[in-house]
């Protein structure tokens, strides 16, 4: 494989790594201070469209190498969409079945995409970022499938699987360090399973103990899939509070408003969690004025067209179909 020529033997060779990092793109018009260098790391450039390619690939390879997916055994996974989409595409292309258990509130686009990719779907009423524990949501329905039909299903379980952390420790973290040539002073991201922050955060904190790691979370009642509000963070199995310098809570409506800014001012086709993270970064930069920051942009706007129309009604299109 030759990353310069970008000629690949299969889609998996495109997965991100230190040799083939997801791109960093500088924020120009929307950066509020000229002394602050701000980049976005575009995770939607990964082959299956989101930051979740990393954890999904690590968990899938682990199951394959341990022989857990032989004899026609497939996967069952609770997901707010992105992990399921990555897993579904990977699994289908490698001959495994996937049953995805999703919260009913995720956008229609994600549910249909999962089916396009060949996944079987269970839709349950649940939080948009399912919590491990005693509740009856997607995690425990997926566990039920795995326990009742162990020959048919194995559950990677991104919410509790250490490989979700390790994927970011081995790829996202080193990529960021190398791409910024060690200049990074601020990391802005949002927390769902907390795999990204615990993995990349641990790597960067080790390299540079004074780095500021800033989590930007949506206000209660939000509808940004994959993210937790501040009160829900304690139910994250993979959460390591000691890595985080600051947690900023943002009115979730702003996530959608900032999507338009990123699309229209920077030409970045960013999804709502990017809008949220950008708003958090903007506030920090207005205060601190100098530094070198990177925002992790988890996915693009394509899967959220219906959510944007809901939040910004003037986007609705009428006229003949």
């Amino acid at each position: 494989m030759d990353h310069r020529a970008r000629v690949y033997n299969d889609v998996f060779e495109m997965l991100p790594s230190v040799e083939n990092p997801s791109p960093l793109v500088r924020i120009n018009r929307l950066c509020p201070s000229p002394e602050f260098t701000l980049y976005a790391k575009l995770e939607w450039m990964n082959p299956f469209g989101s930051v979740k390619d990393r954890a999904a690939w690590a968990m899938l390879c682990d199951l394959e190498s341990r022989g857990e997916l032989s004899d026609g055994r497939g996967l069952v996974e609770p997901t707010s969409g992105n992990t399921g989409i990555s897993l579904a595409a990977m699994a289908s292309a490698r001959g495994h079945a996937l049953r995805a258990v999703v919260p009913s509130g995720i956008p229609q686009e994600k549910k249909v995409l999962l089916k396009i990719l060949g996944a079987e779907l269970d839709v349950v009423s649940d939080e948009l970022c399912p919590s491990p524990g005693m509740g009856d949501g997607s995690i425990n329905l997926a566990k039920t499938h795995a326990k009742a039909q162990p020959k048919r299903f194995v559950m990677p379980n991104q919410y509790e699987n250490e490989l979700n952390v390790r994927a970011h420790l081995e790829t996202t973290g080193p990529e960021l360090w190398r791409q910024t040539e060690g200049q990074i002073t601020h990391l802005f991201l949002s927390l769902g399973t907390c795999g990204t922050v615990t993995g990349a955060g641990r790597f960067l904190r080790e390299k540079r103990p004074d780095i500021k790691i800033i989590a930007v979370q949506p206000s209660e009642g939000h509808d940004v899939p994959g993210l937790r509000n501040v009160q829900q963070l304690d139910s994250c199995e993979l959460f390591d509070r000691s890595l985080i310098d600051e947690i900023i809570e943002i009115d979730y409506e702003l996530a959608y408003a900032r999507v338009l800014d990123l699309c229209r001012e920077e030409g970045l086709l960013a999804g709502p969690s990017c809008g949220l993270i950008y708003e958090g970064a903007r506030r920090v930069i207005e205060n601190e004025r100098r530094g070198f920051g990177v925002m992790i942009f988890p996915d693009s706007v394509f899967k959220y067209v219906s959510s944007l129309v809901k939040h910004i009604p003037e986007l609705a299109v009428d006229g003949p179909a």
Binding site: M134, T144, A148
Partner: protein, 283 residues
């Protein structure tokens, strides 16, 4: 440490495991979301659907005596069987089923403490998708106890008099009227708020983090000391459609041993739709 008033109506998951498949012991799963049973249940358990099997399909009512007999006959249950109920959402509809079984006079019905989630998360417990094919029985109801149920006239009286404990078990936001029903629930009402003089004691205060009931001492402290329930008065519990209140009804009657506890299954979807009924609402 004191015991529950009626410890015999509660079994733990280990008891169920030990007694799996024993003659005379029957398991029934009743869920809010019936996907759970289909995805996997305790070996030998039948599944009842609360919407289509425990409710009359024409009138708003519990199933008739005849339908109850039919349902239990179809499941191969006999009047002298020990029936253990369990389900999702901390046994909400399992408790509703318990209440129904008691009204139709079934002697030995019990709840599995912690419900399906506790079983699911214990490594030594199995689940299956195989549905049992029970030999039908001929179940006959020989006595009923409709005193376990409260209708609107009594609820109106309880609201006005001080001789009842009227307990609203819904979430604080439903009690104050900030919301009419929890997000995503279909059955709702024209108005928000609560029945005048009702105390707010959310059902969830009665359970621990692992979904099992709190100890007898903790429950007594909560209801009698902190919430001011008078243990000698008659009581009525209500929620939105009568399932969460069955859970609290079970706590007050069987775990705390209060003398006369009724479940108002009409609950907020009846009261909050009733023309002219007085409502208390926080501004």
């Amino acid at each position: 440490m004191s015991e529950y008033a009626h410890p015999e109506v509660l079994v733990d998951t280990d008891w169920v495991k030990k007694n799996l498949g024993k003659p005379g012991i029957r398991l029934v799963e009743i869920d809010v979301d019936t996907k759970g049973y289909d995805a996997g249940h305790i070996p030998g358990a039948v599944g009842f659907n609360w919407e289509t099997e425990l409710q009359d399909q024409v009138n708003r009512d519990i199933i008739s005596k005849e339908n109850f007999e039919q349902l239990l006959s179809g499941a191969g249950i006999s009047p002298d069987d020990t029936v253990v109920l369990y389900g999702d959402n901390n046994n909400w509809f399992a408790a509703y089923g318990f209440w129904l079984f008691k009204m139709y006079g079934h002697q030995d019905v019990r709840l599995m403490d912690g419900g399906r989630i506790k079983w699911l998360n214990e490594d030594d417990k199995e689940l299956t998708i195989d549905k049992p094919a029970p030999t039908p029985s001929t179940y006959k109801v020989t006595s009923t106890d409709m005193d376990l149920r409260a209708h609107i006239p009594l609820v109106m009286e309880a609201s006005k008099s001080s001789s009842f404990n009227l307990v609203d078990v819904r979430s604080p936001d439903e009690y104050t009227g900030k919301i009419i029903a929890p997000p995503g629930m279909n059955e709702t009402a024209q108005r928000g708020g609560h029945i005048p003089s009702a105390k707010s004691i959310p059902w969830s205060l009665a359970v621990k983090e692992d979904a099992t009931f709190k100890s007898a001492d903790a429950l007594a402290k909560l209801y009698f000391e902190q919430k001011g329930v008078d243990k000698n008065k008659d009581s009525i519990a209500y929620c939105r459609i009568g399932e969460r209140s069955s859970h609290t009804w079970f706590v007050m009657k069987y775990l705390l041993g209060m003398p006369n506890v009724k479940n108002y299954d009409g609950s907020w979807t009846e009261y909050g739709n009733l023309v002219g009924a007085p409502i208390e609402k926080q501004a």
